[in-house]
C-alpha cells in the first residue's frame, strides 16, 4: 500500500479494520513523517513513539484475535499538551510545568484509548492556551506547514500544524476563544469547537473554565466527525458536562439538512476583512444556494466589528471575552504556587509569599503574566462591577443575539479570521492587535454554541482560506452535515502543503 499518511483517518481506520494495513505500519509511517518534517514545523513538544508503537501492536493483536475494535482502531492521534496523559509529560508549553507528569488521564484520553486510537505525542500551544499564534509557547514557536515563516494560528497551533503536515492523522485541541478554529483556518484543515459541555473537560488544564472546550482537528469534515463521536459524551467528573445522547455524526454526515437555511452574519461582512477571505465567504454563500439552501441575512449586533479612523478594529465581544477569560485565568492559575507540583524557584526566599511570587515570575511567560494580572485587576475591589460584572451582562446580550439569529436559520456563515496566516513576529509586540485575531471566533465561546472552521481553498499567496459555520447549542450533527454540504459543493479535495507532498 502507498504511504499510509496520505489516507484520511476514516480511510485508514477502514483499511486497518479490513486487514489491508496494520496499525503498526500506520504508526511507523507517521513516526517517519514526524522524523522527516517536525524538525522544521515543531508541532510536537514530545513524541511518545514507544508507547504509540506498543498501542498499535496491541490493536493489531486484538484484530488478529477477532476481538471487536474501537471506532479509531489504529488511527494515530496527536494531543494538545494541555490534555493530561498518565504517560509522558503534560507541560501546557509552560516552563512552570516543564517536567510535570500528570498522575491521571484526561476524560478524552481515556475515550481515545477505549476507541483503540494510537496516541503519537503532545503538541505545542501558546502557554496555557493563551494566544492566537503559538508564539507564546515557552518552548519556541510552531511553524505553518504552508509557509514556515508564518504562524499556524493558536493556541492549538501544534495540533493544527500536525494534521496539515500529515504528521498526525487526527488531533485534539482546546478552544477558549477560537484556539481550534483559528489554527484550522491558517493550516487548511477542519477544526471544530463543540457545544460547551459536549466533551468532558476532566483533565484539560483549565484556562477560562466557562469557555474552554476540547474539540477535533481532521483533514476533512468526515475525519472531524469521526473524532468528535469518539470523545463526546457525559463524564460525571466534569460537572459542566451534559448528559445527552451522542449521535453517530459520521453515519448521518452525507444526508443534506432538509430545507437548510444559512444565515449570513451582516456584522461579519466588515470592510476590514481581507478581500480574499471575504470572497471565500461570498463564494460559500453561493455554493450553499446552488446546493438548494436558502440564504438569509441575520444580525449579531453585539458581535459587531467597528473600524476607527486609524484602521483599528474593535468589538464588544472581544472586550467582553478578554475580561471573562482573564478573570477566570487569574483564578485558575493561582494553583501554580511552587508547592504542590511544577517549578519552584531555586533561590532562597524570605517567606511563602516571596516563594509564590518568585516562582511565578520565573515560571510564567509574559502573556500569561499579562492575562493573570489583567484578570486580577478586573476582579479586584473597586473594579469588579465596572469590568467583570459588566462583561457578564454583555455576555448575556451576545448570547441573546445568537438565540434570535437561530430563530430564522439553521447555521450561521462567516469568516474565521480577518486575514490569512500572518508572519512570525508580526504581532508579538502589540498584544491588543494579537487579541483581534479572535474577533470572529470568540462570540461562539461566550454563547457556548458549536462552530467549525472549514478549508475554502488557497489565496493568491498559496495560504489556506477558510469559512466558519455556527449552529445552535448541541446541534453538532446539523453543523457537520451543513459543513459536509459545503465541502462537497466546493469540491476542493484535500489541501496538502508542498512539504507533505502537495502540488
Amino acid at each position: 500500500m502507498a504511504d499510509l499518511t496520505e489516507l484520511s483517518a476514516v480511510a485508514l481506520r477502514d483499511a486497518i479494520a479490513a486487514g489491508e494495513a496494520s496499525a503498526a505500519e500506520a504508526t511507523r509511517a507517521y513516526l517517519a513523517a514526524i522524523d522527516a518534517r517536525d524538525g522544521t514545523v515543531c508541532a510536537y513538544n514530545q513524541v511518545l513513539s514507544q508507547r504509540a508503537l506498543a498501542q498499535a501492536k496491541a490493536v493489531d493483536a486484538k484484530r488478529a484475535a477477532g476481538e471487536p475494535l474501537g471506532v479509531l482502531a489504529g488511527v494515530p492521534v496527536a494531543l494538545k499538551d494541555n490534555i493530561c496523559t498518565s504517560w509522558g509529560r503534560t507541560t501546557c508549553s509552560s516552563k512552570i510545568l516543564a517536567d510535570f507528569a500528570a498522575p491521571y488521564d484526561a476524560g478524552v484520553t481515556e475515550r481515545l484509548l477505549a476507541a483503540d486510537a494510537v496516541i503519537l505525542g503532545k503538541t505545542n500551544l501558546d502557554e496555557f492556551a493563551m494566544g492566537s499564534s503559538t508564539e507564546n509557547s515557552g518552548f519556541g514557536p510552531t511553524r505553518n506547514p504552508w509557509d514556515t515563516d508564518r504562524v499556524p494560528g493558536g493556541s492549538s497551533g501544534g495540533s493544527g500544524a500536525a494534521v496539515a503536515a500529515r504528521t498526525a492523522a487526527l488531533a485534539l485541541g482546546s478552544d477558549t476563544g477560537g484556539s481550534i478554529r483559528l489554527p484550522g483556518a491558517f493550516c487548511g484543515v477542519v477544526g471544530m469547537k463543540p457545544t460547551y459541555g459536549r466533551v468532558s473537560r476532566y483533565g484539560l488544564v483549565a484556562y477560562g473554565s466557562s469557555l474552554d472546550q476540547i474539540g477535533p482537528f481532521g483533514r476533512d469534515v468526515a475525519d472531524a466527525a469521526l473524532l468528535l463521536g469518539a470523545i463526546a459524551g457525559h463524564d460525571p467528573r466534569d460537572s459542566t458536562s451534559i448528559d445527552r445522547p451522542v449521535p453517530d455524526y459520521l453515519a448521518s454526515l452525507d444526508e443534506p439538512v432538509e430545507g437548510l437555511r444559512v444565515g449570513l452574519v451582516r456584522e461579519f461582512h466588515s470592510e476590514s476583512l481581507d478581500p480574499e477571505v471575504r470572497a471565500a465567504v461570498d463564494r460559500a454563500a453561493d455554493l450553499f444556494r446552488q446546493a438548494g439552501a436558502e440564504i438569509v441575512e441575520v444580525s449579531l449586533p453585539h458581535s459587531r466589528i467597528d473600524v476607527d479612523a486609524g484602521g483599528q478594529l474593535s468589538s464588544y465581544a472581544v472586550a467582553c471575552y478578554y475580561i471573562v477569560a482573564m478573570a477566570e485565568a487569574s483564578s485558575n492559575l493561582a494553583r501554580y504556587d511552587g508547592v504542590h507540583y511544577g517549578h519552584r524557584t531555586p533561590e532562597r526566599v524570605g517567606d511563602i509569599i516571596d516563594l509564590y511570587s518568585r516562582t511565578r515570575a520565573e515560571g510564567f511567560g509574559e502573556e500569561v503574566k499579562r492575562r493573570v494580572m489583567l484578570g486580577t485587576y478586573a476582579l479586584s475591589s473597586g473594579y469588579y462591577d465596572a469590568y467583570y460584572l459588566k462583561a457578564l451582562k454583555v455576555r448575556r446580550l451576545i448570547k441573546n443575539d445568537f438565540d434570535a439569529a437561530f430563530a430564522s436559520c439553521d447555521v450561521l456563515l462567516g469568516p474565521v479570521a480577518p486575514e490569512t496566516a500572518f508572519r512570525i513576529g508580526e504581532k508579538t509586540a502589540d498584544p491588543l492587535t494579537m487579541y483581534l485575531s479572535d474577533i470572529y471566533t470568540i462570540s461562539a465561546n461566550l454563547a457556548g454554541v458549536p462552530a467549525v472552521s472549514i478549508p475554502a481553498g488557497l489565496s493568491q499567496a498559496r495560504l489556506p482560506l477558510a469559512i466558519q459555520l455556527f449552529a445552535g447549542l448541541f446541534e453538532e450533527e446539523k453543523l457537520l452535515r451543513s459543513a459536509r454540504t459545503y465541502e462537497r459543493a466546493a469540491d476542493l479535495g484535500p489541501l496538502v502543503p508542498a512539504m507533505a507532498g502537495g502540488a
Partner: protein
C-alpha cells in the same frame, strides 16, 4: 477609568503573586493602558436590568453521591512535589520567629 500608572501595576503584581522587574512595570503599564481603554468600550452599552451570564448553559447544582471514590495515593500525589518531607509537601517557614 483609573489611571494605569506604575503604582497600580505594582499593586496588581502583588495581588497576582508575580514579582515584576522595573522594565516589566514600564512595559505592562503601557500595554495595560491600551487594553483597559479598549475594555472600556463596554461602558457604551446599556446593560440595566440584564441578568449577568457566568455560564453558557443553564445548569446548576450538579450533585454527586457523597461516597468515597478512588483517589491518588501519597506517592502519586507527591510525585511532582518540588520538595517533600515524608508524606508532606515541604515549604519555607511560614510563621515568623517572633
Amino acid at each position: 477609568m483609573p489611571q494605569v500608572d506604575e503604582k497600580l501595576i505594582r499593586h496588581i503584581g502583588r495581588l497576582s503573586r508575580i514579582e515584576l522587574t522595573d522594565e516589566q512595570v514600564a512595559v505592562f503599564g503601557r500595554q495595560f493602558a491600551d487594553i483597559v481603554a479598549y475594555m472600556d468600550k463596554l461602558q457604551e452599552l446599556d446593560t440595566d436590568g440584564v441578568e449577568p451570564m457566568a455560564h453558557a448553559l443553564d445548569v446548576s447544582n450538579v450533585f454527586g453521591e457523597d461516597v468515597p471514590g478512588e483517589s491518588l495515593g501519597p506517592e502519586q500525589a507527591l510525585a511532582n512535589a518540588p520538595a517533600r518531607h515524608g508524606d508532606f509537601y515541604k515549604v519555607p517557614k511560614v510563621i515568623g520567629d517572633s
